[in-house]
Amino acid sequence: MSFTEYFELLFNDYTLRTISLGTAILGAICGMLGSFAVLRKQSLLGDAISHAALPGIAIAFLITGTKETNVLLIGALISGLIGAFWIRGITRRTHLKSDTALGLILSIFFGFGMLLLTYIQKQPNANQAGLDKFLFGQAATLLARDVWFMATVTLVCLLVLLLFWKEFKILLFDADYAKTLGFNTKMIDTLITSFIVLAIVLGLQTVGVVLMSAMLLAPAAAARQWTNSLGIMVVLAAFFGATSGVIGTAISASQNNLSTGPVIVLVAAAFVVFSFIFSPSRGLLFRQIRFVKNRKDLQLHKTLAFMFDIAKSHENISHPHTVKILNNFHGYTRKSLSKLEDKEYIRVEGLMWAMTEKGFHFAENLYNQQVEEND
């Protein structure tokens, strides 16, 4: 499928348009709230909550008997919240660490959910098929009103986020300070946790229980590499999330037998890998380049310092010396010599070198930051 075809389809095909819009909105809200989860070191909370939401779906079905998505999602929301706050209870009240609490709640709730699902499947009424779409998600089942619902929730989240921006930010980076300023930290904390649960529950239908955590984490982790400002990070994460949603949907629509959830996750993962490598300030590539450059500079300075030592013992600093007295131990190579010449620190004539005025001055103050600043 070519690009033009894709765009044609996007505007004409109802299903593709709905799903693309849905995954884009989902990616945006997940990236937005995921930034907070990542910065609060609660990355895996999403994983635990999405698994914990499963029994809620099953119980909602058992009680109401409908497969109405919104009803099931309310069940998911409730059991997700119970899971989230139980995790907090365990880490607060006992000496069990947060990783244990997360893994425990995740597996127990999920197991219980699976027990209920298999129990439902054995029930005589034939209405139960399709509940397991929440395991891996089926973006194809997204309807226009689902997307409207998601958009509304996202808008509300955005409004609250803007309204309490200052509070969220201060709680994020200095919880004690927030407390001393008189903010109700417990309330803000609960609010943000609830929003994260809400975002996860929204994504269950599209991406599914198992992969939901990546939707929350990956855009935020990628965005974190490009900036140190919370505002930019949130916007970037939302953008990354939305883009991976759209691209993932496009890829999975272009081929048969390709479920949308995993593809979106892989696209988001590609964003992460790209950011890890190519981010200018934190990325691995530029970090390595800086590292190599620093090492080369150091070598050059070593050579220069050695030359300076020789030159300063002469009355005329530009007195020529043979190249022979330089050696590898002082970081000398043919390349470094020509580099020094390029910078006009030395002059090379045949097999002799001589220091210039500029080079002498530079070498003199090589380890003297104070003078350089005064210059």
Binding site: A218, S259, P262
Partner: protein
């Protein structure tokens, strides 16, 4: 009980034991979530192994799966080392990506074969007895029984051989390094065991139950004891208990065995979480409440000790003076009366000999912070225990 039922319970119990042992160490080393990551990310290994052999029973599958488990651990550690993201984010990034690759590989290539993502997540213990291990036409029992049996024996022998090393490196990594045990070898050894156990177990019980069987029994046991040996035994006990009772629950409900085993694990944890004698929620809350009252009692006694004038010691005056609500002051006065620390004579409160003694000791303790002063009152009061 038929022999198939017996075999299922036996397999489930062995899986529970095999998981509980590495699980205990993972929980103690704060790496519980690694088991979650491993259990998800062995999927691509399994699928690739299947594409190579086209045989679900081949041992290559287990090797490939265990390998991709180890790859996950290495990847997670690599990302952690770059310090680009926090530790748990690294876990959360790696395993969904691995799992997605697995799911996509399955859905693209293996639609018509018996390799289903549901099976991967859930396992099907009920069918385990039908997959027999045949040698020269002789029936040697179910295959998974052999797989998990071998893994359990390896795990147990490693545990007995390296118990001391594991113990030291778990609780004091610095000391272990100083004594010459390589932390890296122990770490990757443990990870490999966890990986192999996960693979061996998940064939029978599915990815999620493996996580539950690793973490839940160990976490439950950790609420009950501080002793490593006891913790290991207790978690094995909880694992086996939930395996067997979970089987019967599933039998009764006609539902997934692994789901009901997990549910039993959850209920056991909930019970212990609420009622554990020292670390349980109820005893923690009770202790907090007691300590609160005792602090009040001490304040009250110190107040009495400081004032000899009658109007300062009038029962109604105390209400105003220490600024407590009625109920609270009443409970404090009652507690003091019950312990014979005060007497009330016409609404005037005075310290008894015992109360004076207690107050002096408490003041001594507060001033000198010396434990020996309060040995005698420790028994009766939570406040001075911790």
């Amino acid at each position: 009980m038929t022999s198939a039922q017996l075999e299922i319970q036996l397999i489930a119990s062995l899986v529970a034991i095999a998981c509980a042992i590495p699980g205990t160490f993972l929980v103690l080393r704060k790496m519980a979530l690694i088991s979650d990551a491993i259990s998800h990310s062995i999927l691509p290994g399994l699928v690739i192994g299947f594409f190579i052999t086209h045989d679900l029973g081949s041992p290559l599958l287990i090797i490939m799966a265990a390998l991709s488990g180890v790859v996950t651990v290495v990847l997670v550690e690599f990302i952690q080392k770059t310090k680009l993201v926090k530790e748990d984010t690294a876990i959360g990034l790696v395993f969904p990506a691995m799992f997605s690759i697995g799911v996509i590989l399955i859905s693209k290539n293996a639609n018509d074969i018996h390799l289903d993502t549901d099976v991967v997540l859930l396992g099907e213990l009920a069918f385990a007895p039908f997959d027999r291990f045949l040698l020269d036409g002789m029936d040697l029992g179910p295959k998974s029984l052999w797989t998990i049996g071998v893994i359990l024996i390896i795990t147990l022998s490693l545990l007995f051989a390296f118990f001391k090393e594991l113990k030291i490196s778990t609780f004091d990594a610095g000391l272990a390094t100083a004594l010459g045990f390589s932390p890296a070898v122990l770490h990757y050894g443990l990870m490999s065991v966890a990986s192999v156990t996960t693979v061996g177990a998940f064939d029978a019980v599915g990815a999620i139950l493996v996580v539950a069987l690793m973490i839940a029994p160990a976490a439950t046991a950790y609420l009950l004891t501080d002793n490593l040996k006891k913790m290991l035994l207790l978690s094995v006990f909880f694992g086996v208990f939930s395996a067997i009772s979970g089987y019967w629950l599933a039998h009764w409900l006609d539902a997934s065995i692994s789901g009901s085993m997990t549910t039993i694990l959850g209920m056991v944890f909930l019970l212990v979480y609420l009622f554990a004698p020292k670390r349980g929620l109820i005893s923690v809350l009770y202790r907090n409440k007691q300590q609160q009252i005792e602090v009040s009692l001490l304040t009250f006694l110190l107040h009495l000790n400081n004032h000899t004038e009658k109007n300062e010691r009038h029962i109604n005056h105390l209400n105003e003076h220490i600024n407590w609500q009625k109920v609270r002051s009443k409970s404090v006065v009652d507690l003091a009366l019950r312990n014979n620390m005060i007497t009330i004579d016409k609404d005037i409160i005075s310290l008894t000999e015992k109360g004076k003694n207690f107050t002096d000791k408490a003041i001594d303790y507060i001033i000198t912070n010396d434990d020996s002063k309060i040995e005698s009152i420790k028994e009766d009061f939570f406040l001075f225990r911790g």
